[in-house]
């Protein structure tokens, strides 16, 4: 088990390492002079000021040197300063990151609570009208653009019915974005669960359990569900990453003050230090969550725990 986790940890560190390189290169891939583009929207920036910024970003030095400067500052917890307002990027991100994580976790919970039971039921009723109906619903759910679903929910529950606030940062405000993000992912979980359970149902050990004379309920609960959930756990890390990606859009619909909304604003304003910080944060969060889930998986699956 330790070697499995060590492997996953190495992979995670590698991911972060590659991200730092990509993030450093990002600014150089911009066609034209990044500093000029950054300041194109604010009037009255003198060439001297721009030169200063270029220096402070280290853009006058060779790329490898820039990379090591970037990593060096990173290790000190310094992600640079925003172009607009000159605040430390780390502070700006840390201030909003909890909001995004709360949203993603809530959505994940909704997706699992709705999707897994539906998928399990459909697998159990495989080939029946229940299965067909549920799976067509799931395809429809996956096909629903979540930005549209968000708008509809916003229109009915916030604008039309007035049950929930349109925007803001309170707990009630979490409901609509979390439901939006959760519903579209519930469909994915339903499909994942169904195929995993159908896979298990066709295994020999299920026949063994039936042949032993176990009642059907026990076979399903003990033999099928346990074995079928393990692959789902291994997929959850990736699903969490998708949840974080989806949050970018959903945050913008509901004006939820998370890092996704911050990132889109930064792209409009060409505030590259924020974009760099955002991508790095995203990678770190995804890596941490997947390593946590890998640990859960390694503990639950005896084939890994006892190896």
């Amino acid at each position: 088990m330790l070697s499995f986790l060590a492997g996953r940890l190495t992979m995670g560190l590698l991911t972060v390492f590659v991200t730092t390189i990509l993030v450093t290169l990002l600014i150089h891939l911009v066609p034209g002079d990044p500093v000029q583009i950054m300041y194109a929207q604010s009037q009255g920036t003198t060439p001297e000021q721009m030169e200063e910024v270029r220096k402070s970003l280290g853009l006058d030095k060779p790329i490898p040197v820039q990379y090591f400067m970037f990593v060096g500052r990173l290790l000190e917890g310094d992600l640079g300063y925003t172009i607009r307002g000159g605040q430390p990027v780390l502070d700006v991100i840390l201030q909003r990151l909890p909001n995004t994580i709360v949203l993603a976790v809530a959505a994940m919970a909704i997706a699992i609570l709705i999707g897994v039971p539906i998928g399990f039921f459909a697998a159990y009723k495989q080939g029946t009208i229940w299965d067909v109906t549920l799976m067509i619903t799931a395809i429809a759910g996956i096909s629903m653009p979540h930005f549209w679903l968000g708008l509809i929910l916003l229109f009915y529950f916030a604008v039309d019915l007035g049950w929930l606030p349109v925007s803001g940062g309170g707990p009630l405000n979490l409901v609509l974005p979390a439901v939006t993000l959760g519903l579209s992912n519930a469909a994915i979980f339903a499909r994942l669960t169904r195929s995993s359970m159908i896979d298990v149902l066709s295994q020999d050990f299920v026949q063994t359990a039936i042949a032993k004379g176990l009642p059907q309920k026990l076979v399903l609960r003990r033999h099928v569900l346990r074995a079928g959930l393990i692959p789902i756990i291994t997929m959850m890390g990736l699903q969490f990453a998708f949840m974080m990606g989806g949050a970018i859009v959903v945050e913008n619909i509901f004006s939820w003050n998370g890092v996704g909304r911050m990132a889109v604003e930064a792209i409009f304003q060409r505030d590259y230090p924020i974009i760099q910080g955002f991508i790095l944060t995203f990678a770190v969060v995804v890596v941490i969550v997947s390593i946590m889930l890998d640990a859960v998986y390694a503990f639950i699956d005896p084939r890994i725990r006892r190896s």
């Binding site: 992979m11 590698l14 991911t15 590659v18 991200t19 990509l22 990002l26 891939l29 911009v30 066609p31 080939g127 067909v132 067509i136 395809i139 429809a140 996956i142 096909s143 629903m144 653009p145 930005f147 549209w148 708008l151 509809i152 916003l154 229109f155 604008v159 579209s184 992912n185 994915i188 499909r191 994942l192 195929s195 997929m235 890390g237 990736l238 699903q239 990453a241 998708f242 974080m244 990606g245 989806g246 970018i248 859009v249 913008n252 990132a263 889109v264 930064a266 792209i267 409009f268 590259y272 974009i275 991508i279 995203f282 990678a283 995804v286 890596v287 997947s290």
Partner: protein, 295 residues
């Protein structure tokens, strides 16, 4: 791309080359039939937009502003008095183009990378597939966003961003499908017969992974369309006055009370299109899968 259940590498080739029965099997599955129907209608709309559209999609003041759906303007008009029906029709052309171009680019690049990695093995495989794994865990949304951040917001850049973002997914899928084939005796037999790399990859590997990849690519069209519409919705893709559905949806927010149809119509259009490709992909999978076929 949220859907990674594409566990199709098991698609046996046996069922796929005997294609006479393929289309019949496809339309026999409910998913395949509805999917094919929707996609066909979409293609007709896209090609026939010039004849079908009653008005110029970008001309302001074709009618009064905010006219609800009615007899003159079947789907109503928007905040500039443009005809919604015409905009939706021309939008279908854009949407299909976006889907086709984005999937075309990422499928081609991804398949090449995946097949090369599976065929070459060794350090090439490690480097290519580890990179794909890392990029894949970033999710397509983030990669697309980063690309747009670099290139700047525009429809072309959004399509390019979505294409690049899709490559890791296709590379991984094609890689795992290829691994299955590469380890089969027929593959080794051809190597033992003295076949070179080009013959192995393009004569043996490509035809055998293609059915799997067609399924994946059909499903991928929906993902690409959703991703591009999402970028346009955020304002990072299509710019005014392009009749792009995601962008139209974004604009509708300000008139959510006054003209709800501005929100409903493009949303339905996107959802039906995406549904069509999802159903078609699902139908392809069922029609190609011998296990499903026997039901």
């Amino acid at each position: 791309m949220g859907e990674i259940t594409v566990n199709t590498p098991g698609l046996s080739a046996e069922s796929t080359q005997a294609s006479p029965g393929f289309w019949r099997r496809l339309v026999r599955t409910p998913n395949g039939f509805i999917g094919l129907l929707i996609v066909t209608i979409l293609i007709v709309c896209a090609f026939g937009a010039d004849f079908l559209a009653p008005y110029n999609p970008t001309k302001m003041g074709s009618g009064p502003r905010f006219l609800p759906p009615g007899s003159d303007f079947l789907l109503g008009t928007d905040e500039f008095g443009r005809d919604m029906l015409s905009r939706i029709l021309y939008g279908s052309r854009l949407t299909l183009l976006i889907g086709a171009v984005a999937v075309g680019i990422s499928l081609t690049a991804g398949m090449l990378l995946g097949m090369v990695a599976a065929y070459c093995r060794g350090w090439i495989e490690t480097v290519l597939m580890r990179s794909a794994d890392i990029l894949f865990s970033f999710t397509e949304t983030l990669i697309a966003l980063a690309c747009v951040a670099v290139l700047g917001p525009s429809l072309q850049n959004a399509v390019l961003a979505v294409s690049i973002a899709g490559i890791p997914f296709y590379a991984r899928t094609c890689y795992s499908a290829s691994l299955v084939e590469v380890s089969k005796p027929y593959f080794e037999a051809s190597i033992a017969a003295g076949a070179g790399p080009f013959r192995m990859v393009f004569h043996h590997l490509l035809p055998n992974v293609l059915p799997t990849m067609i399924v994946v690519a059909t499903l991928g069209v929906s993902t690409a369309i959703l991703a591009a519409a999402g970028l346009s919705f955020l304002g990072l893709g299509a710019q005014p006055p392009t009749p792009e559905w995601g962008y139209m949806l974004a604009g509708s927010r300000d008139y959510i009370n006054r003209a709800p149809w501005l929100m409903t119509i493009p949303g339905i259009a996107i959802a039906i299109t995406v549904l069509g490709f999802n159903l078609l992909g699902d139908g392809f999978r069922t029609a190609l899968d011998p296990k499903e076929r026997d039901r």
